[in-house]
């Protein structure tokens, strides 16, 4: 998924006609000063760190400025901060509006009901998880015919607005719905959507675009703020790769089998650090690439757990052996391979010929890799 930074989300909102505070992005204190000095951002203004993590307000990443010098200072104090591992490289400067009530609205998917859902609450401006269930309205929106006027009216009622504010809300909900569909969003969340005068204005924007729809949205291809460098390489090679804090690398095929492998390793005291899902590949080169990527993550031990269904065990074994030859001796690590299924015997033979022991038992091999990781420590 592609999470858009606030300013990118707002840029997208603007296309659909959602009212926004006037503002601009700065990547240096000087730029912040100049944007406010030349009036591109009216003063007084808010200066906000552009990071994807929540809780910016508490972390000193949102400041106010009433002069270009203050804007510069605010930007200087925010740029370079780190939030949950994410360094602030951009700040969004926006005019400070006289806001009234703060609301919450979002469109997302209700998986169980297989339908988009409009969530609204009069209790905006705080994290929606902390809002009481009774204060939240959930409204399914059928993709055909799409968001209707009575659904928008119901949201207005749940927000307690009427008159011109309700009319403004009505337009904003229509625009957000349009964006939700047209941009292939997983989530469009505005919190707060604030009353300003007799209308509403989106003060924040949280937008997540679905990865699977990337083929329709080349415009999002360059946004990769939310991945580690190795994850980024994996993405380019279309390998599912996630880095955690542990020290055992796991290569498996299929999300379910990968998760089950982690469960078993944890059970025996192991601490998985990287997991890599080969999926349904039957290309030995892809196995080699995956394995070399794993080596770069420097695990203490690696557990290869394959059930050959679509994938053939001998293909995986061939790819793995080729990869092992390319890993420098200094980067080597203990490897426990467990392969089952399609062409299992051929696979085991290939591994053993290369000096790698392969067993069919999940429990036994999990215990072995946990011991290996501890031994290597």
């Amino acid at each position: 998924m592609v999470k858009l930074a606030e300013w990118r989300g707002k840029e997208m909102f603007r296309k659909y006609g959602v009212p926004l505070p006037r503002g601009a992005v700065a990547r240096s204190p000087e730029e912040a000063e100049s944007l406010t000095a030349k009036g591109a951002v009216p003063l007084p203004c808010v200066v906000k760190a552009q990071v994807l993590a929540g809780g910016r307000g508490k972390g000193g990443a949102v400041k106010f400025a009433s002069s270009p010098a203050e804007a510069r200072a605010a930007a200087a104090s925010i740029l370079g901060l780190e939030f949950k591992g994410e360094v602030v490289r951009e700040v969004l400067l926006e005019e400070k509006l006289a806001i009234g009530h703060e609301f919450y609205v979002s469109f997302t998917l209700d998986r169980a009901a297989r339908i988009p859902i409009l969530i609204s609450s009069a209790k905006g401006g705080i994290e929606i998880e902390s809002v009481d269930d009774a204060a939240i309205d959930r409204q399914p929106v059928h993709p055909f015919p799409g968001l209707t006027s009575f659904e928008r009216r119901r949201a207005a009622r749940s927000l307690g607005v009427s008159g011109s504010v309700a009319k403004s809300l009505d337009r904003v909900l229509g625009a957000l719905w349009q964006a939700f569909q047209a941009e292939d969003a997983e989530l469009i969340e505005v919190n707060p959507l604030a009353q300003v005068g007799d209308g509403v204005v989106a003060l924040d924007a949280k937008v997540i675009i679905e990865d699977d729809a990337a083929f329709r949205h080349p415009e999002y291809a360059e946004i990769r703020d939310d991945r580690t460098p190795l994850e980024e390489i994996a993405r380019e090679k279309e390998i599912a790769f996630v880095q955690l804090d542990g020290n055992i690398g796991v290569i498996a095929n299929g999300a379910g089998l990968t998760m089950a492998t982690l469960d078993v390793l944890k059970e025996f005291g192991g601490d998985p650090g990287v997991f890599l899902d080969l999926g349904g590949t039957d290309d030995p080169n892809k196995v080699t690439e995956a394995f070399l990527l794993m080596a770069k993550a420097k695990p203490r031990a690696v557990f290869l757990n394959i059930f050959g269904g679509v994938t053939r065990c001998d293909t995986v074994a061939t790819g793995l052996v080729a990869a092992m030859k390319q890993v420098p001796a200094s980067d080597r690590f203990p490897l426990v391979a467990r392969i089952r299924g399609n062409n299992e015997k051929e696979g085991i033979a290939i591994l053993e010929a290369a000096g790698i022991t392969a067993t069919p038992g999940l429990k036994e091999s999990a215990q072995a890799v946990v011991a290996a990781a501890k031994g290597a420590a």
Partner: protein, 294 residues
């Protein structure tokens, strides 16, 4: 028909001339399935694995009386491939294709539902009933005919578990791999009644994953309506919370969706919950023995 497919199932393979389509057409035929037609626009008149290829599903159905579809069409074209199948009158479609945008799948799901058609998948292994038919990609080798039903959200993990059932000397009635995408055509709660009604299933294995509330909803059905013994497993108990779908996602599934809530719901519904996949075959064998004694 017992559960969705039987010896009268006649499969049209959409995207048959692609690599996956061709490989699995062969595997389905080896399983004993009647693969009666393939579809790839522009390739009418050719043959793949002895199966005639047509330009459209309508043509394929007219010529072959196909009554089930297996879709391998790449994600950008999968939406229309499914709509075409439904329009051609087919009422069961297994979608193997992965990475279909969920907004597309919403259209597919609602369109199919409104026309009375069932989708299995997308991004799923499909359906197999040993001795009858397979629509999908589950490896043939893991099966032998028997009386254990399997419903799973996983792919490979399912093969592993189905294989395990075979290794303890049992066999399967029908196995359905539902797929793990955010929007699936058939969920546990949709599939469970089929096994409840199936005279050939004695015991059911249900394999879930963390995320969503499909397992909880399935557990509710089991508690209220399902009278056969169930062995369940939830993968991902130790998985990190990971990259969540924002705050709104949490609001929808409030207090559900974790391994703990799923396991608790299944146990409350009377299911035997395995802690690890390798425990499942023995648990199933025990239940089968208990049933035999009664």
């Amino acid at each position: 028909m017992t559960v969705l497919v039987d010896a009268d199932t006649r499969v049209v393979v959409q995207g048959i001339t692609g690599h996956q389509g061709t490989v699995h057409t062969r595997q389905m035929k080896l399983f004993g399935t009647q693969v009666v037609a393939g579809v790839t626009p522009g390739k009418a008149g050719s043959e793949v694995e002895g199966v005639p290829v047509f330009d459209s599903v309508k043509d394929a159905v007219a010529a072959s009386r196909a009554n089930a579809a297996c879709i391998f069409v790449p994600a950008p074209y999968a939406r229309d491939a499914l709509l075409e199948t439904v329009d051609a009158g087919i009422r069961l479609a297994v979608i193997v294709t992965e990475h279909i945008p969920f907004h597309d799948m919403l259209v597919m799901y609602h369109y199919a539902r409104e026309k009375g058609a069932r989708i299995i998948g997308p991004n799923c292994p499909g359906i197999a009933a040993p001795g009858k038919a397979k629509v999908g990609i589950i490896p043939n080798v893991v099966f032998r005919p028997g009386r254990v039903g399997v419903i799973s959200r996983s792919g490979t993990l399912t093969y592993e578990i189905v294989n395990g059932i075979k290794e303890v000397g049992l066999g399967q009635s029908t196995c359905i791999g539902l797929g793990g995408d955010p929007v699936v055509g058939t969920s546990f709660v949709d599939a469970l009644p089929l096994f409840q009604a199936d005279p050939e299933t004695d015991v059911l294995v249900m394999v879930g994953e963390i995320g969503g509330t499909a397992e909880e909803d399935g557990a509710e059905f089991i508690g209220q309506h399902f009278t056969k013994p169930v062995v369940a497993y939830i993968a991902g108990r130790s998985a990190p919370p990971g990259k969540r779908m924002g705050h709104a996602g949490a609001i929808i599934s409030r207090g559900k969706g974790t391994a703990e809530t799923k396991v608790a719901a299944l146990e409350a519904a009377g299911a035997t919950v395995a802690r690890f996949p390798y425990e499942i075959p023995a648990l199933v064998a025990d239940l089968v023995k208990q049933q035999a004694r009664r």
